[in-house]
Symmetry: C2
Subunit: 285 residues, 2 copies
């Protein structure tokens, strides 16, 4: 029986926030200090750090600040962006990704999320080869640092400039081809909810210890901006609990990471937004 | 050897406009009379009629108007929108699609393009079943009228409200399952250019006479609106000529249909836009 043909139930509602992680970009107006003060008080257990939140700071000190607040560092966002029309640009991207790995190690993040990259001037088949070359070049350094790399497939609407990896099948194929213990995949419901193969491709990860992260938010109807109009869980049409059920049936026991880019949300009071995240997390995730 | 493993060359540049079709919505500010006056003078050979262009008119008279101008009626856009949360809504959609088929027959259009539909309140697996049920209910009437139905997979960014069919693989699977001589698929580069399976799924149609239409435009970077910011051929990153090569290798000899929704383009002089379409068609399609 293939994984796809085993019926997985919708996950049970979440009873507490013990596996709740928030991406710093979700509450973008807050400094890292704001985030580490407010998140734990609200019951948040983990944080995924966006590089912009620690820009110009000592990552080791940022990591201590986070842990001393009682939060777990879940991952660092983001590496990747490997494709480039010329060789020098691709070389620079690999060097930059090695620095991201160093930053993750210093921060104490066990994982770097890869937005693999795309360039309108690079045809997708070539971009995909460049991504593979780039990850292969960085993986040994990551393994040496005890940091893993999660290939995050991005929604096809980002295939021009953000990622040429647009389905979980592609990410799984890529991880198979690279075959490094440091390399796995990240599942973000926003990017993948539409894919008829999502359940079977999540199942495909089950026996391979490659399912490294789970990002949640919602798809609003209408979505008014391609980048910055993500919804809070329950505000849209993504069957988050069903997808979480597939993740858990595949053995995933990691954090449920709230990653929301929203100019609308960033313009509201962030303390109030955090309370709304907590309610939405328990009610609709 | 599978179709995917046979290398197909990029198509040769187009030498004339003998296979150029324009969708009426591309020059939306023009009435049907404007279109049938300007298109043939510019060398356009075919027209795909959007229903809004003949709303409230006698479709048979509209068909005569088009043919008397020397244009071929390529298809009628659009039927579909089958999913609905309740049975009555789904029944109404089927009735409406039968009327669309009647309209196509009266117009003299051999093809109805189906935007299959989606509803945020209907989970995608159910929506996909409702689409299959809907097409199966309409196909016999279409066959009786000598009209074919083209399942057009839509970009995944439209999976909330426009179509739960988001890849050519899905459209092919659906056509296989329905197995009606009246039912085939339409390939639109805007919706499908990102799909790593596109070449092989176009090849899959080769021996089945199901490759019914080919729509072209381009993907702009950045794309500023999810609906109305399509680019003219050459303005973006879609490898149109490569995809046309795959279509032709699969035996497709139909029209290259220019379908552009663009508030920017609709606000410019349409005669000048038509000239730009012709240049772009010969240079970048």
């Amino acid at each position: 029986m293939s994984p796809a043909s085993i019926p997985h139930p919708e996950a049970a509602p979440l009873e507490d926030t013990g596996r709740l992680c928030i991406h710093t970009i979700t509450t973008r107006p807050w400094s890292l200090e704001d985030a580490v003060r407010h998140y734990p008080a609200a019951g948040v257990a983990g944080v995924t750090v966006w590089r912009e939140a620690i820009e110009g700071r000592d990552p080791a000190a940022a990591g201590r600040l986070i842990r001393e607040a009682g939060l777990e560092v879940v991952s660092l966002c983001r590496g990747g962006f490997f494709p480039h029309p010329d060789k020098r640009g691709r070389h620079r991207a690999i060097e930059e990704n090695r620095r991201v790995v160093d930053e993750a190690a210093a921060l104490g993040a066990p994982l770097v999320v890869l937005v693999c990259g795309a360039d309108p001037a690079v045809p997708l088949p070539e971009a995909r080869e460049q991504i593979r070359d780039g990850i292969e070049a960085v993986a040994p350094h990551a393994a040496g640092c005890g940091v893993r790399l999660a290939i995050e497939p991005l929604h096809p609407m980002y295939a021009d400039t953000r990622s040429a990896v647009n389905t979980l099948r592609q990410a799984n194929d890529l991880a198979d081809a690279i075959a490094s213990p440091a390399v796995g995949v990240a599942v973000d419901v926003y990017h993948l909810w539409w894919d008829p193969e999502l359940e079977s491709q999540i199942g495909r990860c089950a026996s391979r210890e490659r399912l490294l992260a789970f990002h949640i938010c919602d798809w609003r109807s209408p979505t008014e901006d391609l980048l910055y109009d993500r919804g809070l869980m329950g505000e849209g049409c993504i069957p988050i609990r069903r997808i979480r059920g597939w993740m858990e049936a595949a053995g995933f026991r990691g954090f449920n990471e709230v990653e929301i880019f929203s100019t609308r949300r960033w313009s509201q009071d962030q303390g109030k937004f955090l309370q709304e995240i907590l309610q939405a997390y328990l009610k609709a995730s």
